[in-house]
């Protein structure tokens, strides 16, 4: 398996993959035309033809033996610079009267654009049949090496929005208790509209005033800042990388946005540049290895470690997958945080 930028030729394969993604992945709707544009934007992003405001990098996980695509992951260089990016900020309001001895803390939701300009990790999807081994980690973390290599293309703060709580039928208790009253449509439709890039309707329809969560259902309140059960591993993975929930949630399903300073991301901070050397895999921990190229970026997993002369051993298949020769420079980061 290797991670590489998506290419024009991947269109049909991407559509097949998107059909399996389900409604939770708002940025990967199975719409041919939109996915075609998505590929184009990604190609133009890697080539540097797009401004930061428009740049959106899409990577695919490729089975190097069969050539099949089995997953995607993306990076939006800076969200909200083209059209508003909305979150609820979870706040506290205190109501207190000494005279009658009352003290109350209420939770509030403020509609904000505070995460405007941040870099977003997005579009993570791995085909269910390949959810094993190091695939999930490779797919999600390999892009962090791209951030480490080319930080000037991204923002100082990186976020990821995690899928919120919903049941088997795709019903979100948060949506049912709040958004539904203002949108008068199903969660899945609102999610689709938002996913296809139309956000102006949000400003038009969302409550403009802060909302007291005391007026929401118990299930809705409990969903605030919580992830869908299927997203728990992703959350744990991001938290291990240094990402934290800071009180921003999705306006539709109240799933948490987690944040980290780019330079503080574990895989960025712990990554090192070294020379590749042809050789057998030695004992060692599983590492992400990237070829450091801006456009033909490739990442594979390899077991090993940097030797005393500052080199990392890769076998022929790995060198091939990375499209490099022994002696070329690579960036290495342990797949898992050490500690």
């Amino acid at each position: 398996m290797r991670l590489r930028p998506i290419a024009h030729g991947d269109h049909a394969a991407l559509i097949d993959l998107a059909r399996g993604a389900g409604i939770g992945v708002t940025t990967l709707q199975p719409n041919e035309e939109r996915l075609g544009r998505r590929i184009e934007i990604s190609v133009d992003s890697f080539s540097g033809r797009l401004e930061k405001a428009q740049a959106n990098y899409l990577f695919v996980l490729e089975d190097v033996l069969s050539g099949h695509l089995v997953g995607t992951s993306g990076i939006a260089a800076a969200v909200g610079l083209d059209e508003p990016w909305y979150n609820y900020r979870v706040g506290t309001a205190v109501y207190c009267s000494r005279e009658i001895g009352v003290y109350r803390q209420l939770q509030t939701l403020f509609l904000t654009n505070d995460l405007t300009g941040t870099t977003e990790l997005c579009s993570l999807f791995l085909h269910p049949e390949h959810r094993h081994g190091g695939n999930g980690g490779l797919l999600s973390k390999a892009r962090l090496l791209y951030l480490a290599e080319f930080p000037e293309r991204f923002s100082a703060k990186v976020i990821a929005e995690l899928r919120g709580v919903s049941d088997e039928q795709g019903r979100s208790p948060f949506w049912d208790s709040l958004g539904r009253h203002f949108f008068r449509m199903d969660f899945s439709r609102a999610d689709y509209l938002s996913g296809v890039g139309n956000k102006s309707f949000i400003a038009e329809l969302m409550p403009q005033h802060p909302v007291y969560t005391a007026f929401l259902s118990e299930a809705a309140r409990q969903a605030i800042g919580e992830v869908h059960s299927s997203t728990r591993p992703a959350r744990a993975m991001l938290e291990a990388e240094g990402f934290n929930y800071q009180g921003y949630v999705d306006i539709f399903d109240a799933g948490p946005a987690v944040e980290c300073a780019l330079e503080a991301i574990r895989a960025v901070r712990d990554s090192v540049v070294c020379e590749s050397v042809a050789g057998e895999q030695v004992e060692g921990s599983l590492c992400l290895v990237s070829n450091r190229r801006l456009q033909e970026f490739r990442v594979v997993l390899a077991r090993g470690g940097v030797d005393d002369s500052g080199r990392f051993a890769l076998d022929a298949a790995q060198l091939d997958a990375l499209e490099i020769s022994a002696g070329d420079s690579v960036r290495i980061a342990p797949l898992q945080p050490i500690r």
Partner: protein, 341 residues
Amino acid sequence: MDRLVLRPAAYSDLPAVERIAGASPVGVTSLPRSRDKLFDKIASSQASLAADVSGCGEESYFFVLEREHDREVVGTAAIVASAGFSEPFYNYRNETVTHASRELGVHHRVHVLTLCHDLTGATLLTSFVLDPAYKHGDYPDLLSRARMLFIAAHRQRFADHVVSEMLGLCDDDGHAPFWDSVGRHFFGIDYPLAEFYCGVKGRSFIAELLPQHPIYVPLLPREAQEAIGQIHPFSRLPCEILLREGFETERYVDIFDAGAVVQARTEEIRTVATHARATVVGHPPGADGTRYLVANLDLPGFRAILTDAAFDSERGEVWLAEADLKSLNVTAGGSVVLAPL
């Protein structure tokens, strides 16, 4: 028929007023179940009646309805010259905001309650309580509308708008559906206790605890939504009278129980608009006439009654029976204000 006379409350009325207060629902905060507060209310009224007033300020006027033959008090009603004189007078403004997206073809109105002090400074009618034995016939009109005659007779003492808070929905156990869904979150106490504090404490705790942000009505439980603008059976009778007087409902509701807050421009209140001053002409009892509310022009000695009288608007004269003159404490040749029932 019993002859009833409306007059300012005196200190000697305290036991009777206390009895009436005790029999009223908890939401009637203008009649707190506290002898001290009721005493203060009478004292404030007496002071206001004695004061030389040219604008409307902190005065309040507290009246009782007395059965003439045995001097039994059967009702109370009051006027506060300026609501929220020393602190804001809070209400929710009943509003809708439009949420529309042309692109999605969506256009709908969302109902919100916004805290406001729009009615601060208006003259406030309060404390309408009447012995159920007198709820039929014209008696309720006498108790409620004699206040309008008082306002008309002493117009400079009152504001250009008059408002009155109707008691909202609340069951016998003191559960108010609106309070339970809204106020309780902010105040953390039961509705009866909140109303009690409201009557006996200052109102500054209200400013501290009321929601700063508007309440989106669609988020509330159905019972709470349905309670907005509703009127407790206790207030139906006074509300009916005020609506006949031209008061408008719908725009404002109470912050505790969401009962309707009705309001009118002073000049457009029917009794005020149709009232007249007249010189009294005495006549023997038994003569025919039309039913009128009649009041004298005194302040401390204010009296209002219902009677059949003959009013000659061209000459500005009204014919009243001897019994009426006695009830009103006026003599032939004196002046009164009157309005048709």
